[in-house]
Symmetry: C2
Subunit: 462 residues, 2 copies
């Protein structure tokens, strides 16, 4: 029985899929500080214009430049694997498939967009890119892409992850990038936070502020900022994952997917796998599509859909999204990539429309699932990926109870080889859960007061 | 341009290749403590009989059981990659290909034999396996294989690596194995060493003694020992690498390989890639085949071919091999997998015959080569693999000087994601080389005094 389905390089998808073209209700525009919609030119100090064009595009299909494909060929098309041993261990009639994004050099899905963004920046004449990173998967992916393309790279890494995952910083250094703990003394945004909260574990919101400030304050005009998730063009670049998966499932004669699952922090690995299937759902297919988030950072399951800033210093435009409030600081769960206060506007709007059914998971349950996976399937998942796995196991058990031969597809967003200290803490009984008390949630949502409300537009079809 | 060549599962080689069938001069038999050749029954307390039969087999082709293939399918056939960016950076006319053994769950070539050995042990009714490990690649591979097959596993890990690479131990724990630093207080062999040298960094020779003692002293008869390199059956299981490479090169029309390179500690990843090409060389092909070892542990380049024990406590039979003497303790280079005093008898005999041209490399030069590789090709190599890369870069430059379109093939034995502290030390200028002074070599060779000499048999054809 085939346990993996491969595609050759000439079978790679040659266009990205843009969900914005097909959403039943239109995406809400980003707003400036004055509450008015902003235009491409307002984003020009932060991003190169070619990426801004992708950000606002409503074209359904966007060509992938040949030179980007040539870099992606190093690890793409990625394998579609079947979890036959997990199926046996669970005695489930479900067939479980997953896209293995851990095969990229930095070990996650992140380089799919890092390579694209670095390439477009270089095309635009940019020589240096700044960014933030949580768990370090994004920072190392951008460092890798910049090394390959000959660009300078500076990464502001959330302090708690910087301390928990020192090897991620070393990966960035191996690829020639500079990496500092955020908040840092390198920026005004960082200094402001440190003055108030010298012991802060940091947050993605703070690190984003620092990276943007660094980029826009370079007077040469040769530095831009890059974001690893949330924005439309990032979701776009990741859709190659789901498009490949469709070709691979077709290749082995799987005609119908019943459940699609991905963990969701800012939304990019989830969207990458799921959006091509969301398109099918919009066109009438019956598919359950589940973004899985930590119960300690329940953006999609408990937070409102409204306008909010992407960062703590309010340097980003206001985005219409599910948000816990831009001042939210997540508890120190090991899934650093899922600790963001907001969520991709595209993913958020799809949730509002009822196209997605979000689910939240406790940390300990995720580690239990990850360990069960590693001892049956072999590969060790990242803590973020373990959230998807926990939901997969739930769905596989449900299929067993229902006696249904379901096809479950999920995104293996990355391997956990850089995250073994989290496993050690779990095995030693040192980890705890951080359910978010209602009063803390309400407190955090106060940072939304005074910001414009996003209209809840639902076509009522799902 | 294709940068990787994939095979489907149904294209996997279904037999292992046994070089012992084709060596021009016969392999010298292992000897017992009395200096007389030992038979299979003498090995029965240590290994299961089905593996002993493979160890002494002179059959050219040995079928791979279907159930082993089904486990290998998780990551095999492994990709054959082309290093196009390195070629460009070096401006070489050479085409550089490598087998990526880093795609296995533990990240190296080791599970090729770990899965096979665990499977044969289970077939023989064994329930628990003991082993030693240097850098931890072997220990984690056996832990993985035992997890998949439901066997217990105990690993004695050389203390210096145990301290340098704590994440390798955690990997073993994730897969449910027990891992202790060697020398340990768990065995008489370990206690003896600790009594004499309480601060010893340990060695593979010591750890082997402990693992064998543990296995043979289990009175239930359900424990056996497993070795990750050196022995004939280990080389055999690894030949799937070179057999796949041949199919992949044929698939893209590469008819002739000029240079084959692999790093060599005990010899297994080198043999795995090289032996099918050694067969071609025996049959008249012109190929340069280069095992690369650390200059601090120059087994093939400076040590004699003679009979020696595989371990410090002399628990193994005497093997005819290149050896620095069983009391040799290697300096603490980061390539822990290359710190063994001996070498596979098959590899050693091929060197004696002149079929191989060994080369040694300094640690700093290897790290320099690894960093150059990571910043051009993207993937980060293990410190062991960096020895092969250093030789590849030398050969690629030579091809440029000679203006020759050579085909260079090497074995990417594993990724370096668990070894980033070595990179950090290198980038911070903290590493040094450890050339082995002649007087220290001679001192180490004294442990060979009184042991039988192995006859140097050379047919004179190479």
């Amino acid at each position: 029985m085939a346990v993996k389905v491969l595609l050759n390089e000439d079978e790679i998808p040659r266009q990205w899929y843009n969900l914005a073209a097909d959403l039943p209700s239109p995406l809400q525009p980003p707003l400036g500080p004055d509450g008015k919609p902003i235009g491409p030119e307002d984003l020009a100090p932060v991003f190169p214009m070619n990426l801004i064009e992708q950000e606002v595009s409503r074209e359904r299909w966007i060509d992938i430049p040949e030179e980007i494909l040539e870099i992606l060929y190093r690890w793409r098309p990625s394998p579609l694997r079947r979890a036959v041993y997990l199926e046996k261990a669970l005695n489930t009639p479900a067939r479980i498939y997953y896209k293995d994004e851990g095969v990229s050099p930095p070990g996650s899905h992140k380089p799919n967009t890092a390579v694209a963004q670095a390439w477009y920046n270089k095309q635009f004449g940019i020589e240096r890119i700044t960014t933030e990173t949580g768990a370090g998967q994004w920072g190392s992916a951008l460092a890798f892409a910049c090394a390959i393309l000959g660009l300078k790279c500076k990464v502001y890494m959330v302090r708690i992850s910087f301390d928990q995952k020192p090897f991620r910083k070393l990966m960035m250094n191996v690829w020639g990038a500079e990496c500092v703990a955020s908040p840092s003394m390198n920026t005004q945004a960082g200094r402001d936070v440190l003055a108030k909260h010298p012991d802060t574990p940091g947050s993605l919101g703070i690190a984003i502020s620092e990276a943007i400030e660094d980029a826009v304050s370079d007077r040469s005009g040769k530095t831009r900022y890059s974001l690893g998730s949330v924005l439309n063009h990032v979701m776009l670049h990741q859709t190659i994952i789901g498009l490949e998966a469709k070709k691979q499932l077709a290749k082995i004669g799987e005609k119908k997917v019943d459940v699609v699952i991905g963990c969701a922090g800012g939304g990019s690995n989830f969207a990458g796998l799921a959006f091509p299937f969301v398109a099918d759902k919009i066109n009438g297919a019956r598919i359950e599509i589940i973004p899985v988030e930590p119960s300690s950072c329940p953006t999609l399951t408990r937070a409102p859909f409204t306008y909010d800033h992407g960062d703590v210093a309010k340097m980003t435009p206001l985005l219409a999204m599910h948000t816990l409030g831009h001042e939210f600081v997540s508890p120190p769960i090991h899934a650093g990539g899922l600790r963001y206060h907001g969520m991709s506007p595209l993913v958020s709007q799809a949730v509002v429309e009822g196209l997605l059914t979000p689910r939240s998971m406790d940390q300990l349950h995720c580690y239990e699932s990850a360990l069960f996976w590693a001892r049956t399937e072999g590969y060790i998942p990242a803590p973020e990926t373990s959230h998807a796995i926990a939901a997969v196991i739930e769905e596989a058990k449900k299929a067993r109870e229902e006696g249904k031969e379901k096809v479950i597809l999920f995104n293996w967003s990355g391997h956990g080889l850089m995250d073994l200290s989290g496993y050690a803490n779990y095995m030693e009984g040192k980890l705890v859960d951080y359910p978010l008390p209602e009063e803390e949630l309400q407190e955090s949502l106060r940072s939304l007061e005074g910001l414009p409300k996003a209209p809840i537009v639902k076509t009522g079809r799902w």
